[in-house]
């Protein structure tokens, strides 16, 4: 059964073309993927991300419980800060990638918000609950009652600021504050999935429509545009960010994905996957995620084989690929043997049976101009 977000009527009124994504009816595009992509790079875009999961973890041992369940070190977060994390199998495979936000303590103790991919929310909740056994920490899934609206782009702060009651200058990259959003109580996080400055606004489902409308009105003059999942994908790919299901899955460990820094082997406590991940850290991964710029004619897509250029031997697979709207060339990510993962290496992508030349390049493909960096971003990890 397909579920629709609380903003589905807005998307239809805006002329969105919808797709089924992880069991949700979501906007793929409104005016067009390229147009929406450019709006986010040059001005700002607004996204309905209400399909994503919001899992709250509370209790005196909430930090320790998350520290055991996840590969990162949420216990080390101070209130108001966030960290990118992963839920791994005992073998070190990625069940899901997540953002963990620490909020000010409640009467119940420590309080964390864990934001999960839509398709994985149920399994994440169940896995976390199992791993919390023995810890004084409770998990509650408030996904259905929570709307998530993102505003991303160089003009995001100027569009969001008039609608919130907190000074956004004080909200650093990977931080979160409680505040009023369009008059409703909510959470304002400086996080995103586009490679631009921007905010993710969590509000109750009741307020979703009015907050969405207020942001669109507020941003109209600045050229704020609604953006669908199509451009969300091209934006994150240019920014070199992994998508669970493409770059990350249970057969892939964080080190292979170039995300070994997320795994805090040095944290003082045990965690699920530690032994397996310590072994990978010791030996180095056998295969690595690479960026590819296709130099021949053709667009590399998910599933295309990657070959050594001369002998045509298959050495890997493309996990995501598209025509980069910003760079104007086809770009892709994929896994290859570590020996052939150095930037500058010439490989070939097999596109409809033809070996098309492609060069290994450093990720990300796109980095926003420094002048647009939010205050404090340089100090963020």
């Amino acid at each position: 059964m397909t579920r629709a977000t609380l903003l589905a009527d807005r998307h239809r009124a805006l002329g969105a073309r919808s797709i089924d994504f992880a069991g949700w009816e979501m906007p793929l595009q409104y005016r067009g993927i390229l147009d929406e992509h450019r709006a986010v790079r040059e001005r700002a875009g607004i996204f309905d991300l209400s399909h994503m999961g919001e899992l709250w973890v509370e209790g005196p041992q909430a930090g320790a419980a998350l520290g055991y369940a996840l590969v990162s070190d949420p216990a080390a977060l101070v209130p108001g800060r966030a960290q990118y994390s992963m839920l791994c199998t005992p073998e070190g495979g990625v069940i899901d990638d997540l953002i963990v936000y620490r909020l000010p303590d409640s009467g119940l103790g420590r309080r964390y918000l864990v934001v999960a991919n839509a398709a994985n929310t149920d399994v994440d909740r169940e896995t976390l609950a199992e791993r919390f056994a023995g810890y004084d920490a409770a998990i509650s899934d408030r996904s259905a009652a929570t709307a998530l609206i993102a505003v991303q782009g160089p003009l995001a702060a100027s569009i969001v600021q008039p609608l919130v009651d907190v000074p956004l200058d004080a909200v650093r990259y990977y931080s979160i504050v409680e505040g009023a959003v369009g008059g409703a109580s909510g959470l304002i996080a400086r996080t995103g999935y586009t490679g631009e400055d921007g905010f993710e606004l969590f509000v109750s489902g009741d307020a979703a429509g009015s907050v969405w409308d207020a942001l669109l009105t507020q941003g109209a003059e600045a050229g704020l545009q609604p953006v669908g999942l199509g451009a969300r994908d091209t934006l994150r790919l240019e920014a070199g960010m992994p998508l669970h299901g493409n770059e990350l899955d249970r057969a892939t460990n964080p080190f292979e994905a170039g995300l070994g820094r997320v795994v805090k082997l040095e944290k003082g406590s045990d965690f699920v996957g530690r032994e397996a991940l310590a072994a990978v850290a010791e030996t180095g991964p056998a295969r690595r995620l690479i960026g590819l710029k296709v130099t021949g004619r053709g667009i590399a897509r998910h599933g295309h084989p990657i070959a050594a250029p001369d002998e045509g031997r298959v050495i890997g697979t493309v996990t995501s690929g598209t025509m980069s709207p910003t760079l104007g060339v086809p770009i892709a990510m994929g896994y290859v043997a570590s020996a052939t993962s150095e930037p500058g290496t010439m490989l070939a992508v097999e596109i409809r049976g033809m070996g098309v030349p492609a060069e290994v390049v450093a990720l990300p493909f796109y980095r926003r101009p420094r002048s647009d960096s939010p205050a404090g971003a340089s100090a963020a990890t």
């Binding site: 595009q29 067009g32 199509g230 994908d233 004619r297 667009i299």
Partner: protein, 128 residues
């Protein structure tokens, strides 16, 4: 939404159009197909001189999200391809019946034209 379906063209169920110019025909994809695909970013066309059968795949068109095959409405020899599309694939979105044309064919058997839909029939296909 009203989709442009010119009266003087023939159409396939796969949303290609054909302009009958006597011995030759020009082929492209319809405004409906271009709109459904979204922003077109890549077009792969056959070599001039290739002989195509009716309904044979002669190339590929890619939007940001999707990859689709292109099918020849009738059999014939490719006499020209639109080289402009290599650098400006967006012409297919902007002018699907004009500058966004794809190939010209020397028509093999004119009887095959009778198999194609006229504008009225194609409009009813779209109205589904």
């Amino acid at each position: 939404m009203a989709v442009d379906v010119p009266d003087d063209l023939r159409y396939t169920d796969d949303h290609e159009w054909l302009r009958d110019e006597g011995d030759e025909a020009t082929v492209g994809i319809t405004a409906y197909a271009a709109d459904q695909l979204g922003d077109i970013v890549f077009v792969e066309l056959p070599a001039v001189g290739r002989v195509l059968k009716a309904r044979e795949s002669f190339g590929v068109i890619e939007s940001v999200k999707a990859v689709s095959d292109l099918y020849s409405p009738v059999g014939g020899e490719v006499t020209a391809v639109n080289g402009e599309l290599a650098g400006r694939p967006e012409l297919v979105n902007v002018e699907p019946y004009g500058a966004g044309w794809m190939v010209k064919l020397r028509i093999g058997r004119r009887e095959e034209l009778d198999e194609l839909r006229d504008a009225e029939s194609y409009r009813s296909l779209l109205a589904g």
